[in-house]
Symmetry: C2
Subunit: 332 residues, 2 copies
């Protein structure tokens, strides 16, 4: 019998947590789980290729993430970066933990030897029994950039610099997925999306985690052509981000920071968008009607991923939603 | 009054120790001390530029070297490299300590941003009060390679691979200073040698620490043109290397592994070599006559650098030798 194919589109920490819930849900079924991950946050930093979202997802699936701090490796230390600071390097704004540096150095060496990011990610992932295949959405370098004003002058800086160094606190005019048009979805990511029995969109930041993926040629097309239904999970509960700064990011691009707003921003797959179904929190149940008007079949359940049990229940509800019968049978 | 200019040519650990003795000797005199360091051991390793001799000299002068282990930083740990090994990287043969990695990453980032090795070394050195200027002999990449037989086939491997990975235990046909002819001494190293009041050759491995420097165009010329006398310290005592594997290296190139043999291998500056004077150990006093026949003014003193006091005394004896009166006054 063919293994069930489940594909998740994910950003970083929230995506990793949700991916764990999906993995746990299918643990007994030998499903073929693939996590397609945003690479817009990736950057060359201190000469090393840093991939925050890929690492967050990998660490979460491996169970080596720091769940208290919310990011990075558990048991982390910063001996190396203290040295770099002592040498006067201007890199202290971005934490380079010692354990994390092992990942960065290994990946950078692989990339510099000509390995693709997809293959490098496989090589790194092999260390653990992840129960899922982690796939960068593209092998190309497509940094998310941010148009800001620095000292009164317009400037375009890397997303991580805006997000981490400036804590997203400087005026922002927009996000730019530079070089996206010239890039392309990786063959592995395209196959994962197109051949899936179900595609899940994790409750990640819609503007800076999911949108950068959608900007890459082939991603929207693969979602549109997927044989499986596409179910998203709202990253907003009662008008507030589940975690991170989705509200600020939504405001920059004029998307209402609500479960309904983000669902309609993604749009119905039947109308050129990416969603068949959309999970909203029980407090946002009144969005179900308007979403249905937009062609999106929504359902309300508790969205908070408090622990493994609630996260697994959320994944189960999303999978269950994928089996909905359309309100109107398509014409034959 | 012009500061006294003292320049030392040095390899790694032994060179660093000797440099400390010279610095201590001139500590009260505000001398301008410059250490010109071998870069033949340098390599790109795991995507990072590793410069073993530069670091050994810098760490020794900074007092942060591990004097018990004999190399690297004191208080070192290996968290990062344990991660790299866990990822299956084939890099465990060369120790990358966490503190050391701070140096490697900082330097690599500087080099990749277009900084020369000379400038990068200054930037790193600035962290400490070294009491000396550490100068790579060249800004070019001139790796020392080793011709060996691997599994019965001839192969040319990096010196560090032969030295560290294979512990110099595989048959060797010779050392190759690849790309040396196309390289050139750095302007700073050339000036340090030419304008010195005295040039000291540290008791470093003559074949793989000093010879790689001499192979770089401009080094022999600078030594030949130096306004100061050039005094070397034998790295061999009673036919045995002070430390390291000078004996094996001498054997490869057919140089007698004796104080006399290495002195004559360097040769008298008056005859196109690099030495005016040569310090041998008291047990090698019988070499003084043959060396004088070769045009080298030799003197015997205890050469063992047991501690700061004996090392400083050795430096003092070498400096004293530089003021010798020639046996035959040059024709006027």
């Amino acid at each position: 019998m063919r293994r069930q194919r489940v594909t998740v589109l994910a950003g970083g920490v929230g995506g990793g947590r949700f991916a764990c819930g999906v993995r746990d849900l299918f643990a007994d079924q030998d499903a073929d789980l693939r996590i397609v991950v945003n690479t817009g946050d990736d950057m060359w930093f201190a000469g090393l290729r840093v991939c925050p979202d890929l690492d967050s997802v990998m660490y979460a699936l491996a169970g080596v993430n720091d769940s208290e701090r919310g990011w990075g490796r558990a048991g982390e230390s910063e001996r190396v970066s203290a040295e770099m600071a002592a040498f006067g390097m201007d890199t202290s704004w971005f934490t380079l933990g010692d354990l994390d540096l092992g990942t960065h150095i290994a990946r950078s060496a692989l990339l510099r030897s000509g390995t693709t990011l997809t293959e490098a990610t496989q090589r790194l992932s092999r260390r653990w029994e992840l129960g899922a295949t982690v796939l960068p959405v593209t092998d190309a370098e497509v940094p998310t950039l941010v148009d800001v004003e620095l000292d009164g002058h317009p400037a375009r800086i890397h997303f991580e610099e805006w997000w981490v160094r400036h804590r997203a606190a400087i005026p922002t005019n927009g996000f730019v997925f530079e070089d996206a048009a010239a890039a392309g979805i990786s063959a592995a990511a395209a196959e994962a999306i197109r051949d899936a029995d179900i595609v899940l969109i994790a409750p990640s930041n819609p503007i800076v985690s999911i949108a950068p993926m959608l900007a890459i040629p082939g991603v929207r097309e693969s979602i549109g052509a997927s044989r499986g239904r596409v179910i998203g999970v709202a990253p907003i509960i009662g008008g507030h981000a589940v975690r991170g700064m989705a509200e600020q990011c939504c405001a920059v691009v004029g998307v209402p920071a609500t479960a309904q707003g983000v669902g309609l921003y993604y749009g119905a797959r039947s109308a050129g968008g990416i969603l068949d179904g959309w999970m909203v929190d029980t407090v946002d149940a009144d969005a179900i009607g308007p979403l249905a008007m937009g062609g999106i079949h929504a359902r309300s359940v508790p969205l908070w991923m408090r622990d493994a049990t609630t996260t697994r229940a959320l994944a189960a509800a999303a999978v269950e939603l994928a089996s909905f019968r359309p309100l109107v049978e398509p014409a034959r």
